[in-house]
């Protein structure tokens, strides 16, 4: 691949229509310039600290630790960020970059609605127009977030094509971008899509692992033994892993949404059930049939309900540096309730996938070992859906 850019091993690249190539090149050039620009970085730090509430806490989950009887568990509290998830880290970076590039309009895809809400928030703050594409099915299971985006002044477009979920929202946002490029930045929400998005989003999310490393050094004077995060596209996971990739003693564990199980068709566990393919601008692992048709994936979590995974994760899997484990709906819902009762923290159903694996893994680790679990978002948005899952009909 002599011309191809943005590769992670065999993965990544820029598989997009020619119409978008110049916009992508322009974005890459702008990012290469501003990422080392002291003024850009100080503006971004100011926004992250004073607007989004960073640094986020690294909280020692003492009751959970004692209850499970194994590794000492710390929770990285991305749920405490403004807008309620890690998504704001990336969005503030991209919105600021877009503004510097002279763009006046942001478009975004969203699954659970967290990235859409974060983008709508940044657009309101920076006086930009904003249109969010969201699968129709997701607008129904995450109705509260749809209201939040509209309240923030954004337009929400329900996407009815395909499976009417996150993948279709991405496709529709890409189609919209090919229609209107000159004033519009596509604020992609995860470490996926064509280069330079996987790198840009990772760099903006890497603040998570930078803080974990520093906070744990202060609290414990050492590195963790394991870092766990949920993986859909993989932005909070790569953010949690990034500054530990070179520390080979730290186990990096991505928790995929297995839906009703990886032995069923109703799953979204891409690394565990997919194979290498080319879709949404990148080469990576995808759930697909034998002819390369993208599979209609399923998870209780709208944010993890995506048939692909970011190319850097695909490479971390290939090289064996990170492990990717499947977590079912049932396990995630149990963990959602467990963390609420045990620590008084209601995690997003996405993050509950990481908590579920922590519950399995912690007892198998020594009491002298340390585990960090990233709570990527808060679970208020999921309460009505989990209640329904448990057979209780409540109104939002």
């Amino acid at each position: 691949m002599t011309n191809s850019k943005g590769r992670f091993g065999i993965h990544g690249g820029q598989y997009i229509p020619e119409t978008l190539m110049n916009a992508i090149i322009e974005l890459e050039e702008a990012y290469e310039h501003y990422k080392n620009d002291p003024e850009f970085n100080s503006e971004l730090t100011e926004l992250l600290n004073n607007y989004a509430g960073r640094p986020s806490r690294l909280y020692y989950a003492e009751k959970m630790t004692k209850d499970l009887g194994g590794a000492k568990i710390y929770l990285k509290r991305e749920d405490l960020n403004h807008t309620g998830s890690h998504k704001i880290n990336n969005v503030l970076g991209q919105a600021l970059l877009a503004k510097k590039m002279g763009k006046t309009r942001l478009i975004a895809e969203t699954g659970a609605g967290q990235h859409g809400v974060a983008t709508a928030t940044a657009a309101a703050l920076m006086n930009m127009e904003c249109v969010v594409f969201m699968g129709k099915e997701d607008t129904e299971r995450q109705a509260l977030n749809v209201y939040r985006m509209r309240l923030l002044g954004s337009e929400v477009v329900p996407v009815t094509t395909g499976t009417a979920t996150l993948k279709d929202a991405v496709s529709e946002a890409m189609r919209e971008w090919t229609k209107r490029i000159s004033d519009t930045h596509y604020c992609l929400g995860s470490v996926m899509g064509p280069h330079p998005f996987p790198t840009i989003v990772r760099d903006f999310q890497a603040v998570i692992s930078r803080e974990i490393k520093q906070q744990l050094a202060e609290l414990e004077g050492r590195l963790p033994d394991a870092v766990l995060a949920c993986v859909g596209g993989g932005s909070n996971a790569i953010g949690s892993f990034y500054h530990f990739i070179d520390d080979s003693t730290v186990r990096l564990i991505g928790c995929e949404a297995a839906g009703r199980g990886i032995d069923t068709f109703e799953t979204a566990a891409t690394v565990n059930t997919g194979r290498v393919g080319i879709f949404h601008g990148m080469k990576s692992y995808f759930c697909q049939d034998e002819y390369g048709q993208i599979a209609p994936v399923y998870s209780i979590s709208a944010g993890l309900d995506y048939p692909g995974v970011g190319p850097e994760h695909a490479n971390l899997h290939d090289t064996g540096r990170a492990e990717y484990v499947p977590v079912t709906d049932d396990e995630a819902v149990d963990a959602f309730e467990y963390l609420s009762r045990t620590e008084g923290i209601i995690p997003a159903i996405e993050s509950a996938h990481a908590v579920a694996h922590a519950i399995k893994l912690a007892p198998r680790m020594g009491k002298d070992q340390i585990m960090v679990v990233t709570i990527s978002g808060r679970g208020d948005k999921d309460c009505a859906q989990i209640a329904r899952y448990r057979g209780e009909n409540i109104y939002e």
Binding site: T19, Q288, G292
Partner: protein, 255 residues
């Protein structure tokens, strides 16, 4: 001269796009034959993909209908093999990179050569990623068609110097679908291409009416029409061959 170039040898070329298996492969075969009989110079056969990100609603619909009907890459290869018993007009496949990649580039492209497919159009494979399939295409003599868009600007030279078969000029921003007006300065794109290569140029995206086709044919060597034909197929289903044939005859005579 490659088969594709010969399609442009007899004057302005008319290039219809047909999604294979919409509504059935038998219907597709009849439509292809009607197209060839009514003046199509080159036929673009779409292999449906579950998530066609470069398509507007009309062609998305054709993809969904075809896949629901159970069409697969292998069934389409069989259909082309049977068509080639009597249809001689050059044919290219239009599909998405994953359809080729997942089948195996070598296996897919060698099959194309074997069944008489002359070229491959992959809208999600820009110049920078051509190496994914170009060496195999060269090996089997299947032209990998390059696309140039209204936003290509300084990229036009680079793309056209390496182009083969014909150049697909995307008339407008956005996805496929009929448009009332095409406002891109296409003549300056064509003259920029002409500085670098003499291979034929065909304009597609948004063309549906004979007058539009005539205007576009003044600028380039051919016109590509997709959504307008797919709409006829959607309307007439199994009986679409006759109306599609009449439409192609009318469009071709306008060039």
């Amino acid at each position: 001269m490659s088969n594709i170039r010969s399609a442009f040898a007899g004057g302005k070329a008319f290039i219809p796009f047909i999604t294979c298996g919409d509504p059935t492969l038998d219907a597709t075969m009849e439509i292809v034959r009607a197209a060839a009989e009514n003046g199509a110079d080159l036929i673009e056969l779409g292999i449906p993909f579950s998530d066609p990100t470069a398509e507007g609603p009309v062609i998305q619909g054709a993809n969904i209908r075809a896949l629901r009907g159970g069409v697969t890459t292998d069934k389409i290869f069989d259909m082309v093999r049977r068509l080639r018993e009597d249809v001689t007009v050059p044919m290219v496949f239009m599909t998405y990179a994953n359809v080729v990649f997942s089948y195996g580039a070598e296996r897919f492209i060698s099959a194309c050569a074997d069944i008489g497919i002359d070229g491959l159009i992959l809208p999600d494979l820009p110049y920078e990623e051509k190496d994914e399939f170009q060496p195999v295409c060269t090996k089997y003599g299947v032209d990998l068609i390059s696309l140039i868009a209204p936003t290509s600007a300084a990229r036009v030279g680079m793309i056209s110097r390496d182009a083969e078969g014909f150049i697909y000029i995307v008339s407008s921003l956005g996805v496929t679908g009929t448009r009332n007006e095409i406002s891109t300065d296409l003549s300056s794109i064509v003259s920029e291409i002409r500085k670098n290569t003499d291979i034929p140029c065909a304009i597609g995206f948004g063309i549906s009416k004979p007058e539009q086709a005539a205007d576009m044919a003044k600028l380039a060597d051919g016109v590509i029409v997709g959504s307008a034909i797919i709409k006829l197929i959607e309307e007439h289903g199994e009986n679409a061959a006759a109306p599609v044939g009449e439409y192609i005859k009318r469009m071709k005579s306008a060039l």
